[in-house]
Symmetry: C2
Subunit: 178 residues, 2 copies
Amino acid sequence: MDITEFVEKSIGCWRSQRSAHHLAFAHFEAVQSEIDIIALSETDPAVLELCSTYHVDPSAIASPFRMSWEGQSDWEDSEAVKGTCVLVPVPDLTQANCGKLLRDQGYAETIAAVGEYSITADGTFVLITAYERAAAEEKIWFVNPNVRCRVSLIKTSAGTGVVTASFSSEIRQTRPGS
Amino acid sequence: MDITEFVEKSIGCWRSQRSAHHLAFAHFEAVQSEIDIIALSETDPAVLELCSTYHVDPSAIASPFRMSWEGQSDWEDSEAVKGTCVLVPVPDLTQANCGKLLRDQGYAETIAAVGEYSITADGTFVLITAYERAAAEEKIWFVNPNVRCRVSLIKTSAGTGVVTASFSSEIRQTRPGS
């Protein structure tokens, strides 16, 4: 599976159940959210701006998309979890199914980030993102066309300790009128 | 990674945080447990009995082990979650890092079961078990020598619908005196 096929399969509206395990405290957090993934044009201004920020030639990108989410955590005093970001894959020219993923807002820290992705032989999308004080490792795979699983690990920047392990099960929603 | 190495890395005592997502109801269940995995001799009576039940030549097996767990779910009125089972890998002679896994007690139904395992190029152990009324698909991988992740999916027996998706993060415990 290449990145274009992976993004195509991801486009849509998903209902997500996410459990975060804060390992040091053996704490469970539960988050319910709705995730919207929409395809963007390669000439979308937000895509071109992200390319410019990272000095990437817009002709080198594939299947840019926008991901938006809105949900609720069961943590005390938690506010609504809400956000949106633009993601731009830049396939590696020399290695099949590997590349960079530009993002205008990260998960672990709310700053722009560049991750390294690869897609394994069994169709799992693996993304590794190094931040200043942490590293994120994410695996996403499709169980069937309407169910996606996602495991995200937040590690210390040295990459040895795991701080948070979280799991999302995402079910495709049918849009009214579709 | 072959099955012997995978089992060796798994031997020990683990503290597990498990979140189960019951997808139809968007329900979260949280389970905390302790898991003990110990190596068994290939001539252990329980191993030989399991081989006999499934008509497997004991000389064809590799790295049998026992897994025991005890924990607590946050479901209302839940009793302690407790169990033990013997697992016996039977590597495929013609296909590397694939084989059968005999088990004297299943997860999804408390009956003996035979699953089909494979270990992917990136070291993920994948186990598929068909039951009479359900199918279970499990992925286990090591983040580092002391952290294991496990995703289990329970599907309808036709294999299309996902009923429960659960995720465990498992941290190796230091034994007193070790």
